[in-house]
Symmetry: C3
Subunit: 270 residues, 3 copies
Amino acid sequence: MSVITLTTDMGLKDYYVPAIKGAIYAELPDAKIVDISHDIPSFDISQASFVLKNCYSSFPKGTIHIVGVDPEPKNEKRNVALEYDGYYFIGNDNGIFSLMFDKVPTRVFELTIHSESTFLIRDKFVPAACHLARGGTLEVIGTIATEFNRMQPFRAVVEGNVIRGTVIYIDKYGNVITNVTQQLFADVGRNNPFSIYFRRSSYEINRINRTFNEVPEGEKVAMFTSGGHLQIAINKGGEGSGGGANKLFGLKLNDIITVEFESQFIGHDN
Amino acid sequence: MSVITLTTDMGLKDYYVPAIKGAIYAELPDAKIVDISHDIPSFDISQASFVLKNCYSSFPKGTIHIVGVDPEPKNEKRNVALEYDGYYFIGNDNGIFSLMFDKVPTRVFELTIHSESTFLIRDKFVPAACHLARGGTLEVIGTIATEFNRMQPFRAVVEGNVIRGTVIYIDKYGNVITNVTQQLFADVGRNNPFSIYFRRSSYEINRINRTFNEVPEGEKVAMFTSGGHLQIAINKGGEGSGGGANKLFGLKLNDIITVEFESQFIGHDN
Amino acid sequence: MSVITLTTDMGLKDYYVPAIKGAIYAELPDAKIVDISHDIPSFDISQASFVLKNCYSSFPKGTIHIVGVDPEPKNEKRNVALEYDGYYFIGNDNGIFSLMFDKVPTRVFELTIHSESTFLIRDKFVPAACHLARGGTLEVIGTIATEFNRMQPFRAVVEGNVIRGTVIYIDKYGNVITNVTQQLFADVGRNNPFSIYFRRSSYEINRINRTFNEVPEGEKVAMFTSGGHLQIAINKGGEGSGGGANKLFGLKLNDIITVEFESQFIGHDN
């Protein structure tokens, strides 16, 4: 029996999420349900894609990820079930999947399950997920989709020896996570010395640490997340703990972070 | 093994909810536990009844719903286990069940499980729930209750061709849910044109939509919830997303919403 | 299959907690995972120890408690797995366990599982927990620890017939929980009359109640928690419900609460 996960913006105070879980148990008495998050900002497919992208592959292969953010199809868009990297995803073809995946999904199916209900996640996504969890095939619940909504995630830009990235996520601790990937950093930087600048020019960071505790408490630190994104943090900082990097540096979503590498031929002395 | 659900006002930061879950697992190693919500406003049996009423029947028949809001019996009141619509409910006879059910429960039992503990949910409701989850009967854990606390839910009032309802719930998105039911709306309205008025007279809505996306983003919309309640919403509105209907229209719990139908014989032109 | 619990300060909005759960399911398809809390104040091992101390033993013996607050070892400290009271605990030897336990743990092992990852909870604590959940032994995943971080919890002080305690926790309802234990209260008080003073001298409480409802709604009440701590509360008080004891009495963490018993020989009349 596959695990079924839930990613929504519904919060935990209302009856929506338990109704979804009840419907899963009504179909699959031995279901295993895991909450990814229900605290996605309302309708924010960009934040939802970041959260799910960074944890979907920790689950066992075959896990079915229900994405319940902005689930209502609009215009010619449709609800889809798709296979990617050995996992199933069910949701609305509103661009969230293209934001999440680096490659093209293995197979995309337009859901043919019909429901008069307006509670699409419970009455359309759940039956699809239970079908897959029982070992059913995509062909039974959908038809091959000929189109697929392709939104481009906002990527960091390289200009010579400079990477211009943006803040794409701020976590619970106020850690500021950027779209500068470890791979891009290595490719552009080639181990040259660098300065990371953000917003107020008076702050900069000149090294990457591996763990928070390599710097003193309350000190700024640049690290790569387990998902390979450059993040700016304060060791032991956070709400109620002296403030996180977002507060201390006044950083918000979409703010620019610049990494400037010294040229190889100029050397380290300027 | 039946599912056991939890509805409380205890929040998720303290040790109360995990202690309850631990006690369930200690009795039933294969328990299936689902959180309905732990974010019910403190002691608010009206809000708790709304949340559970709208999702209890999504669960498989036989599910045991523990209601841990205001669990301490007071005066002659008592803790009860009851059967309704093929489901079990365990809680305090503080009126919450009469607010939740449209009909009389099939059977109501006063719990005879004794505990010196003051942690009633863990030490009294959990043993009762585990007994039922194992297939045990109500007779073993209680005696038939001769009385049952009957509180009247606040219903919408009809005056000729006008329905005067109230706001009974505001969800995470700021959607404003009323006690005007789809059935009442159909009975009184008989498909006549109508105006929905709320608070500031300058706003009104003249149609019911089936889905949010039938109106543009940021536009007001009236719909029936999956539970059959008239709700006023803003498509894609919400906290951090332009504001929900509650903010934009200044609507709060218990505010009045009026639906005025045109008389059949006057026609549509006044 | 043992239950695995999670206590962290990671919150529920990010990908961290679901990544941990996914990793558990990837190793143990039939895992039973229970959230203790993810709302521990950031890096606050004192609050974390209070929460887990008060619920760990509600779980079945053999349950494995993962403690993911401040998980990074610092200086000579290390990650440990230990056995206490028939339960397993996995976490960082940052003092949290000595704050939580009244006695010395049965066995303490320094984790030898190596991981290059910086996501220690997912990549080090989870494999250790899964090993134990499968019935594996501590010896396989660690070496006996020769040292163990001993922090002293802040205990109440007795001066003659006075107990000077402090506020160690404030719960969701604003109930103010102190480090004055029921045992200490009985030992020092010997059933003599007493006054409980807190902050503003104009307030005092002269009796201990067993349940909240023994006093009228909105009235102050002193009780012992199910965990045996003296707490000051307002019956039916709380956020959005007239204010909890913390708000009404202006009480904060670490504030002093004094219990003054009348001397046995002076009698009750002064």
